[in-house]
């Protein structure tokens, strides 16, 4: 435990202010503006609604740490969700459907990884291209319509509770712990830091940079597959535009949390706080009846504020 404490507290002291100040500010503003904001039910609501974003923001953090980017993650989430819905309706087996969604996510992730690592295509353009592909496939399979008629067993995954804790929160907590373990306790995680920080060091140490990059993007796709399960359960349907733009929230959460686009400087706990900040902002704006699309502009502004606070601190 002591090792973990140091690896957490060192960045904690230097970075919490940016994202924490933003969180406190947001909570204060919404607490004053809308009385319903601070009720326990609403807090639980915020946490539950943040779970899907967390599943995307975790791998996004890892990918950004390698000086990469995954713009396709929202579209891959959408397509996985559609495959899940279609499969469960066709076969009646939730397990098979879930596996199919994971396979779709993993497939796209591997594809991204190969294009970036082997074909040397810059990550942003690679994932912009696969974004188009995943979006196209979603439209093709659904013909632009919602996929409805999903068995209630899937829905329970989102609405159910275990020992009083909402099931999605439990799943997200597990995902967070797993990613934390992966990033801070495995060889994979160590090499993620090196991919962004000093690829030459990795090469000198005899580690395949290409292989590592493929794995990083595959991880992103796989997590999008997991997130698809929660999203399908939440909506009790699959829709070809449901997850579009989620990548923006995920990038914003990582950026607010203090992960930078340079030198492998990432912080998973910051991303967790960033996800909650995005959740608080969206929830508060919902309570104030601000339309969903406009919330995006507010998220952008929040990122700029957080980066500004961090910038102020680092200059001191």
């Amino acid at each position: 435990m002591s090792t973990q404490a140091t690896s957490l507290t060192a960045p904690l002291l230097s970075r919490v202010p940016g994202v924490a100040i933003v969180l406190i500010l947001l909570s204060a503003i919404f607490g004053v503006l809308s009385p319903g904001f601070t009720t326990p039910a609403n807090v639980a609501n915020i946490l539950t609604q943040s779970t899907i974003l967390l599943l995307l923001a975790l791998p996004m953090t890892v990918i950004i740490m390698t000086e990469g980017l995954d713009l396709s993650i929202g579209a891959v989430l959408t397509f996985s969700s559609i495959v899940l819905a279609v499969t469960v309706i066709a076969t009646g087996s939730p397990t098979l459907a879930f596996l199919a969604a994971l396979a779709v996510g993993l497939g796209f992730g591997l594809g991204n990884g190969v294009l970036v690592a082997v074909f040397d295509i810059p990550p942003f353009i690679t994932t912009l291209g696969t974004l188009g592909i995943a979006q196209g496939l979603s439209l093709l399979v659904t013909d632009g319509q919602s996929v409805v008629g999903i068995p209630s067993s899937i829905e329970h995954i989102y609405s159910g509770t275990v020992a009083g804790i909402p099931l999605p929160v439990g799943i997200a907590a597990l995902a967070y712990l797993a990613t934390h373990g992966l990033l801070y306790h495995t060889r994979f995680g160590t090499y993620v830091f090196a991919l962004g920080g000093n690829r030459e060091a990795l090469r000198v140490a005899g580690i395949s940079v290409r292989g590592m990059l493929i794995r990083v993007y595959a991880f992103g796709g796989l997590m999008a597959g997991f997130a698809a399960l929660l999203m399908t359960a939440r909506l009790n349907s699959a829709h070809p535009t449901a997850g579009i733009g989620m990548e923006f929230d995920a990038i914003a959460a990582a950026a607010v949390g203090g992960t930078s686009f340079e030198r492998g400087n990432g912080w998973l706990f910051g991303t967790l706080l960033g996800v909650i900040a995005v959740g608080v902002l969206r929830n508060g704006l919902n309570l104030l009846a601000v339309p969903s699309s406009t919330q995006v502009a507010c998220i952008g502004a929040m990122v700029i504020v957080a980066l500004f606070i961090d910038g102020l601190r680092s200059e001191r």
Binding site: I125, Q135, G136
Partner: protein
């Protein structure tokens, strides 16, 4: 080191490569036309040809400004969202004042301002262009939806609609606009000192800076121009469909990126032409139009565009590697 470079890049080889690339692209256009003529009765009709030209014009207008950005090794992903906001604001102004001229000024002005903001994010804040303009895209979308609140603005004066749906000597108006901006864009890139500096920035920003090129100012200019071209494109769409909605132009960004890359402009900066982008826009339009004619589900379009982008960049990466 220098001798290695000498061996691998042969000048005659490089010069012919430019010509070969143009040749391949025109060949692709011819092939596409041949295939579409064979498989569709409608393709060679006057109506469809005019339609293809109109669509090409629209795509080219967006892609021409983007070409300048990509020439500097940057990217502008906000042009689609820029079109939406510019169109909606222009529509409001026309409705409010009844003056098409003010509407045109609003559309182009709004586009240019958005581009200016991108330029400032990229130069002053040093945010990578693809991140800055991607964030800008979502913020603009948000602002547009807020502004429109689900409403539609429609019904514009005939004089304004003429810009999108009118004809002159049997040729659609947008085609004249396209030719005009092909000339302006081409002349700007090839025949002004600023154009030369833009190529130099894309090829080697450090060398450009050390040669006294005001790199930041030129970059801001380029993003502003890209934004202004998106604003202009928004007017053409507005005039053509005679109504403005929040989601107008949303799905035009990826095809515009594809048109620039297919047109032979390198994603890594420093090489490419505005005229090439015209051919790229024509190829993209033929592909998308052809899919319509062959009654292929329109849902294939983002997928096909995505694959085209990836292929174009892959070819670009490969030729660069051979060049090195």
């Amino acid at each position: 080191m220098s001798t290695v470079a000498q061996k691998t890049i042969r000048p005659h080889h490089l010069m012919s490569r430019d010509m070969m690339q143009a040749f391949y692209r025109l060949l692709a256009v011819a092939l596409l036309c041949a295939v579409l003529t064979t498989f569709s009765d409608v393709f060679l009709t006057m109506n469809n040809i005019l339609n293809v030209l109109r669509q090409t014009a629209l795509l080219f207008l967006m892609a021409s400004g983007l070409t300048l950005v990509i020439l500097t090794a940057g990217l502008d992903l906000s042009i689609g969202a820029n079109v939406a906001l510019s169109a909606c604001l222009a529509a409001s102004v026309i409705k409010l004042t009844g003056s098409p001229l003010l509407g045109v000024a609003t559309g182009i002005g709004c586009g240019a301002l958005i581009g200016l903001a991108n330029g400032i994010l990229v130069t002053a804040l040093r945010i990578p262009s693809f991140i800055a303009t991607y964030g800008m895209m979502w913020m603009l979308t948000g602002v547009t939806y807020y502004y429109m609140a689900g409403e539609t603005i429609h019904g514009f004066p005939a004089s304004f609609r003429h810009l999108g749906s009118g004809y002159l000597f049997g040729v659609p108006m947008p085609v004249y606009v396209m030719v005009l901006f092909l000339l302006i864009g081409g002349l700007f890139a090839q025949r002004t000192t600023w154009g030369q500096q833009i190529y130099a920035i894309g090829a080697n920003p450090v060398a450009a800076r050390l040669s006294g090129v005001p790199v930041e100012r030129r970059l801001v200019l380029v993003y502003a121009m890209s934004g202004a071209m998106a604003g202009l494109a928004s007017l053409i769409i507005l005039a053509r469909i005679n109504s403005a909605q929040g989601d107008i132009g949303e799905d035009l960004t990826l095809p515009a990126v594809a048109a620039v890359l297919v047109g032979g402009t390198s994603l890594f900066g420093g090489s490419g032409t505005v005229a090439g982008t015209l051919i790229g826009a024509l190829i993209l339009t033929l592909v998308l139009n052809g899919m319509n004619l062959l009654q292929i589900n329109s849902s294939w379009q983002p997928l096909v565009t995505g694959v085209i982008v990836l292929l174009a960049v892959w070819i670009d990466t490969r030729t660069r590697r051979i060049g090195e």
